[in-house]
């Protein structure tokens, strides 16, 4: 295909394929559970796989298209009731989809060849073809196969007497009948629909081309054989006219741009308002201000509408899980039921990416370590089948996602022991911790209680990554576990990444915005609360038996502050993960919602600054990145590592 950048379209296809696979997998999962397939589901399955084949072939994924063709064939037969659905077929078809995924990946990476293809597909193809040929419609099936072969032979015998043998289209119309009858030969890739009789002479043309091939004779029976069946299928498709709201795909960047534009509008509005207050004539001033207020309200409505565009239902995350649960529980020989609630609860699209992996990891952990083997469950007096429930709800301006299993729970003692070995906690801390607090330590780095490492989870990396990812999204993760009863993990997230609740803080004459979600508490310290350690540059805040390192923001950002004595200013205790620091500032001002804007790439990234916003008066406000500030603090700490060593452990607050 000259002029086409296939690789670009391939990327697009891979993305599209992922959705189609997911859709087909879920239909099949349902079918496997229910032991039945509705006509509608069969239709959808066929369409999904058909699109995969067609699009795959369009981006020149020959192996992929070749194998998909067989899977499609089977689905076509199911759809047309030429073969009856039996529950085992769902498994075979899912295996088929898995192989398709593998082929797709390998072919995209240029790792595919005929040998590998045969190795990967031959076994499954035997099963699939056996199913295809199983039921009474064996004559039809053989016709289909012959058809398929015929297409191949046609491709091989590319040269035909006809002038434009390479055509890939055709017409059915009468007007073009005269000039198209000779041009439209059997291997045309296009054609025009002619009168019914005209088709027969056209198809006769193929006879002289391959008279030597005996199979062609069989092909001739095709129209008679397939017509009755086709009538059945067309009847079925036609009445299912579902009224579905039409949707379009829009790049998230475009919505962000729109959001930015509205942000600019807010600023312009604020400037206008400010300017209007200088109008001398009271009557004019008041009516202008009144109208500007109206404008502001409209802009706010618009902001809300744009936000709602970014929202997608949780379903789009959930749909990835059933297949994983099925595959893993099969592998582990466990019986697990996966339930989900709150499918229609909406979440910011920008969060989905960051949220899918952590949730997947938590579910894998539950599958692997949480839910027990069926026999263990029975002997523990539980029902054989374990349950994993994921639910989502919006409450108090937050998104709350819960993953609950009825497995064996997390052994806090074991986790704490491991954390102790890894130096995450000390013995004294361990002694004062509750079982649940101990279990919470699995969010620390390198902690896994699994006796053996499996390929599903248990390498001890993961839960800490889960926590980091959730923190990155501005969220909080919590855990509640009871031995023998189960584990519940709760994730609380802001509703959107685009707007956050911030607190204005002042250092010297600079104002920063601190995300409210990071704040633990704020206080004006007394001198007894401050301990100076090391070479005298590091202060520690002693708060309820806990030592919290103090970070002087004016030092970090190199600003002339109003106060240099800690007792005179304010300390705000912030938290990221399990680490707390106390930020020293001059004062805190008011709290407000800000529209988060990423810092332009042409700004050098500054440690401790995460993003920016535009304030009502048009000035730029910088949003503090608490995690970054903690990192900076850790770095300066390790510079003085030798002085810090004795108390380093205390820094990690539980």
């Amino acid at each position: 295909m000259s002029g086409f950048d296939i690789s670009m379209y391939r990327d697009m296809f891979v993305e599209e394929a992922e959705e189609l696979f997911e859709s087909a997998d879920n239909v099949l999962l349902e079918a496997e559970n229910n032991g039945s397939l509705t006509d509608e589901e069969m239709g959808q399955l066929f369409r999904d796989v058909h699109t995969l084949k067609g699009s795959g072939a369009s981006v020149e994924l020959a192996f992929f298209a070749e194998f998909t063709h067989d899977v499609e064939n089977m689905m076509d037969k199911l759809r047309n009731h030429q073969i009856a659905f039996i529950p085992e077929m769902a498994g075979t078809l899912m295996d088929g989809l898995d192989v398709m995924k593998e082929i797709l990946q390998m072919e995209c990476n240029d790792e595919m060849n005929r040998e590998k293809f045969t190795e990967m597909t031959s076994e499954l193809l035997v099963t699939i073809r056996a199913y295809i040929n199983a039921e009474g419609a064996s004559s039809l099936a053989s016709v289909k196969e012959v058809q398929a072969e015929e297409v191949k032979t046609v491709e091989k015998t590319k040269e035909t007497p006809s002038s434009n043998s390479s055509e890939s289209w055709g017409f059915f119309g009468e007007e073009t009948a005269n000039d198209s009858t000779e041009s439209v030969s059997s291997d045309e890739n296009f054609g025009f629909f002619d009168e019914a009789e005209k088709i027969t002479p056209q198809s006769k043309i193929e006879e002289p081309i391959k008279v030597e091939e005996p199979k062609v004779e069989e092909v001739k029976t095709t129209p008679k054989a397939t017509t009755p069946a086709s009538k059945v299928s067309s009847k079925k498709e036609a009445p299912t006219k579902k009224v579905v709201a039409s949707t379009i795909r829009v790049n998230l960047d475009k919505i962000d741009l729109l959001m930015n534009n509205v942000g600019d509008l807010v600023i312009t509005n604020a400037m206008l308002t400010q300017y209007s207050t200088t109008i001398k004539e009271t009557k004019v001033r008041n009516s202008v201000l009144e109208r500007l207020e109206l404008l502001e309200r409209h802009i706010r409505d618009m902001q809300d509408s744009i936000m709602s565009i970014r929202m997608v239902p949780m379903e789009s995350i959930y749909s990835k899980f059933p297949k994983v649960v099925r595959d893993i529980s099969k592998k582990l020989k466990k019986k697990i039921e996966f339930k989900h609630e709150g499918d229609s609860v909406e979440i910011d699209k920008a969060m989905i990416e960051g949220l899918t992996d952590p949730l997947m990891h938590i579910i894998r952990n539950s599958l692997d370590h949480g839910i027990e083997m069926p026999e263990d469950r029975v002997s523990a007096g539980k029902i054989e089948t374990g349950t994993i429930l994921i639910s989502a709800e919006q409450a108090n301006g937050q998104m709350i996602i819960t993953i609950k299993d009825d497995g064996k729970g997390i052994p806090g003692e074991k986790v704490a022991q491991k954390s102790l070995e890894n130096g995450l906690i000390d013995e004294q801390q361990m002694a004062t911790m509750t079982d649940n607090e101990k279990a919470m330590l699995i969010f620390g780095a390198g902690v896994s209680t699994a006796e053996s490492v499996t390929d599903i989870s248990g390498r001890g990396v993961g839960m800490d990554v889960v926590k980091t990812n959730i923190t990155k999204l501005g969220g909080v993760i919590n855990l509640d576990t009871e031995i023998g009863v189960g584990t519940t993990i709760t994730i609380m997230l802001p509703l959107t990444l685009a707007i956050l609740d911030g607190l204005d803080i002042a250092v010297g004459d600079v104002k920063y915005i601190l995300p409210l979600s990071a704040i633990v508490e704020s206080l004006q310290p007394t001198s007894e609360m401050i301990k100076r350690i090391g070479d005298g540059t590091q202060d520690l805040l002693m708060l309820r038996e806990e030592f919290i390192p103090v970070v002087r923001l004016h030092q970090l950002f190199d600003i002339e502050p109003q106060h240099t004595k800690l007792e005179e200013g304010m300390l705000i205790v912030v938290k990221s993960g399990t680490t707390k620091i106390a930020m020293f500032i001059d004062e805190f001002l008011h709290q407000h919602q800000v529209v988060v804007k990423p810092l332009d790439k042409n700004f050098r990234s500054v440690e401790g600054i995460g993003a920016a916003t535009v304030r009502g008066d048009g000035s730029i406000g910088l949003i503090l990145d608490v995690m970054g500030i903690i990192e900076a603090q850790k770095k300066s700490e390790s510079l003085h590592a030798d002085h810090r060593e004795p108390r380093k452990r205390n820094l990690v607050a539980s």
């Binding site: 295909m1 000259s2 002029g3 086409f4 379209y9 697009m12 296809f13 599209e16 959808q44 066929f46 369409r47 058909h50 699109t51 084949k53 067609g54 699009s55 072939a57 369009s58 981006v59 020149e60 058809q147 297409v151 390479s166 055509e167 890939s168 289209w169 055709g170 017409f171 059915f172 119309g173 007007e175 073009t176 059997s186 291997d187 045309e188 890739n189 296009f190 054609g191 025009f192 629909f193 002619d194 009168e195 019914a196 088709i199 198809s203 095709t222 129209p223 397939t226 017509t227 086709s230 067309s234 498709e237 006219k241 579902k242 009224v243 579905v244 039409s246 949707t247 379009i248 795909r249």
Partner: protein
């Protein structure tokens, strides 16, 4: 010339648009399935419609049948995209009232040739 392409695959819509644009057809509107296609077609007049057959919500052949019922599309050329060249497809395509067919995967030159023929006859 105003063209409408109907396909549920974003990628194929992109490929079709690209090929048509290269061929000098710049006014190309996309629809994501039969229903969307029908709605778009009834809101504006198109000179040619190219539609996929297998689509959710409304398949391509139903779309052709529905379009042919409308006065404004009784004579407008409609091409269907198909993965097979079977007589069965030809019978159904003709019965629905389509003008012609194009095999998927399509070659841009071939696509343009078919389009040029239906638009100039």
């Amino acid at each position: 010339m105003k063209l409408l392409i109907v396909d549920d695959s974003t990628m194929l819509r992109d490929m079709l648009s690209y090929a048509l644009n290269e061929g000098g057809y710049n006014d190309v509107v996309e629809a994501i399935d039969g229903l969307d296609g029908l709605e778009k077609a009834s809101k504006a007049q198109y000179d040619l419609i190219i539609t996929d057959i297998n689509m959710p919500n409304m398949d391509g052949l139903t779309l052709v049948t529905e379009l042919r019922k409308l006065n404004q599309y009784s004579k407008i050329p409609i091409l269907v995209l198909t993965t097979e060249r079977s007589d069965d497809m030809k019978t159904k395509g003709k019965a629905a009232g389509a003008t012609g067919w194009i095999v998927k995967p399509f070659v841009p030159d071939q696509l343009l040739k078919a389009v040029n023929i239906v638009l100039t006859k």
